[in-house]
């Protein structure tokens, strides 16, 4: 009798366990889908910001391109330094070849 009781108990435990596992599986799947939606949204936002960043970088490089800077410089009365017009700041040495002069332009 007690052996039969054990089998019944095991059977119902298995049923309950399967039910719990099934519900967990459903719950996890729902969570997974929610995460996928969130991920999808975030990826779209990332792509959008990355694209915007690339465009802004392009714009920045256009704004600092030599032809733009020349136009801006002439607006402020600035131009390339000529022979005898360069002044190195006190204590400042000419930069090593490959670096840019701090004191360019007049």
């Amino acid at each position: 009798m007690s052996r039969m009781h054990g089998w019944v108990l095991a059977f119902f435990s298995a049923i309950v366990g399967a039910l719990v596992l099934g519900l967990s599986s459903v719950w996890l799947n729902i969570e997974r889908m929610d995460l996928a939606y969130d991920l999808n949204k975030l990826e779209k936002e990332l792509a959008s910001r990355t694209a915007l960043s690339a465009k802004l970088e392009l714009e920045r490089n256009n704004l600092i391109s030599p032809y733009r800077l020349k136009r801006l410089a002439s607006l402020y009365g600035l131009g390339p330094v000529g022979p005898g017009q360069m002044r190195l700041m006190t204590g400042q040495q000419a930069p090593a070849l490959g670096g840019q002069a701090e004191t360019q332009g007049k």
Partner: protein, 665 residues
Amino acid sequence: MATTRSRIERKRPKEAARSRTDTARLKLAGVAALFAVLWVLLWGRAAYVQVFLGPKLSDLAGKQNLATEFELGERGRIYASNNALLATSVESKSVYATPIEVGNAAQTAQSLAQILGGQKKNLERELSSKKGFVWVKRQIDDTEAQAILKAGLPGIHLTSEFRRMYPNRHLAGQILGFVDVDGKGLEGVESLFDERMAGGKAKFVVQRDASGRRLYLDAQGREMNIRGQDVRLTIDTVVQDAAEQALAEAVTKYNGRSGMAIVVRVQTGDILALAHFPYFNSNNPAESKAAARRNRAAVDIYEPGSVMKPFVFASALEQKVIDPNKVIDCEGGKWILRGKPIRDTHPYRWLSANRVLRYSSNIGTAKIGLSLGAQPYYASLRKLGFGERPGLELPSESPGMLRQPKEWTEVDLANISFGQGIGVTGLQMAKAYLTLANHGLKKPLRLVADPPLAAPPPEPERVFSQQTADTVLSMMREVVEEDGTGKMARIPGVPMAGKTGTAQKASGKGYGDGIVASFVGLVPADKPEFLLMVTVDEPTPVTLGGVVCAPAVRDIAIKTLSYFGRLPEGKAGPKADAPEYSMQAKATHPPQAESGGAGVPNLVGLPVRRALEVLGRRGVVPALKGGGMIITGQKPAHGEPWPEGQSRDEGFTLWLGHGDKEHKQ
């Protein structure tokens, strides 16, 4: 008897009860068996569906809610040596149509034509077709994309693509080349490194929900890096711009057909500028002619003329055929060699070798070449890199045209000595001069800094002894510094070695009226740091290289030297006794610092450059705050004493703005 009956009567109910129990058990067993059979059938069906039909059903389900997607990576960027961005790819929208979804083709075509431009009839014809997919317009700008979205036209869709952009417009256009609408490099560096820069392609599976949204459930296929690799050139945008501007002015001023300019850093062989005119804007390749797209410095062969002469002198000095003081008869400007006349621009009689180069005498150079002989001269030319590709691996790089010495007649040798009868490219010429500038050591030119060459560069080969190279450099210095043909390239305070070239262009069987003018300069002359070369094709009415190209080289040299801080420092301002706050600028009405007497001058309103100059002369390096180009505030204030001691720099602060006086002390 009675007892027996009563027992029987007592037993009957028990039997009846037993009989009822058996029936119930039987029924229960039947029901159990039925449920067992049903259970088995259910499991059997489940097993059949799961095990036998499972893969097939899974495939069918997958088709409904899974989709395969591709992702194309961004094309790699091109950078200049000063980290300026030369080429990049940005996301751009393209418009396509699915004609079967388009309701009213005429109305849709009308709307699209209004937004995107283009022919309405062509659009209508495409939209009326039975194709499943039709491109309407690719790589439109953001404003057009917004307008398309707003219009909400049925059957018209937007998709994302990468569009190649060049932020510096035409700068180094011929070097960069361009890509087609699918992002494939067609010319220049874009073509050379197409494989390296091309974006990869990732394939992955996504899940679709009921509304068709794509859900990425795992990273399968997306973990790979599909972005193309970058390329870094040795070009410097500031030097390149200076070269392009000076070249454009020279070509335009003297009505030339085209021109090229090259600037090379002597120590490393790095090409800082490789300019061409007319310009080519890689953003709109279709708007330029094929001739404008050509990298002339690498492709075009021309007869260089007198800029070849230093190499004859170097070879002759190396072979001890001449010395700088050897006197040569220049025949009064006309010499007949084997029935062919050789002429000089100006008639000379007896000139020392250094003056032959200084005045660019063809006759004197031809005689030196004849004394040297064909074989030694040819050997020197080959060692200098003529007759072979310069090794930059640019598309269609030309080896030039240098015949075998056994084919040379005496007249050929004389002609080749002064740069006629030989075909060279601009890059070959720059490479040859690089050897002279490096005191006789041959170094390769370099245009691409990253990726490095697959094979390491060869050990520098000595072509001429240092003494020979230095002698030629000193002779070339006379061309500019003395009364030579290149004096228009002279820069006060900066010694320059140079050589002019004014070459006739071959036309049919002989030479026509076309001239190639050129000038090569090396600064500083004694220890060259930069090699500069300008060539203008068919200038008119002035054709002399010393007039057409030398000023352009001078202009480029000044800007390059100032950019690298190599211009000599001025000892005094334009007026030695002028107060520091009255220096003149290029502006029509330059702002000036108001004198503060013994105290600090008023710097408010000055451009930051001028304010720093004023303070710099006092040895003060101020702290700068804010952004902008105009001084909007200062501390100490106007008239206050100059800060002293260690706190001198820290004690001086300038506030920057855009001239709206947003900051007050």
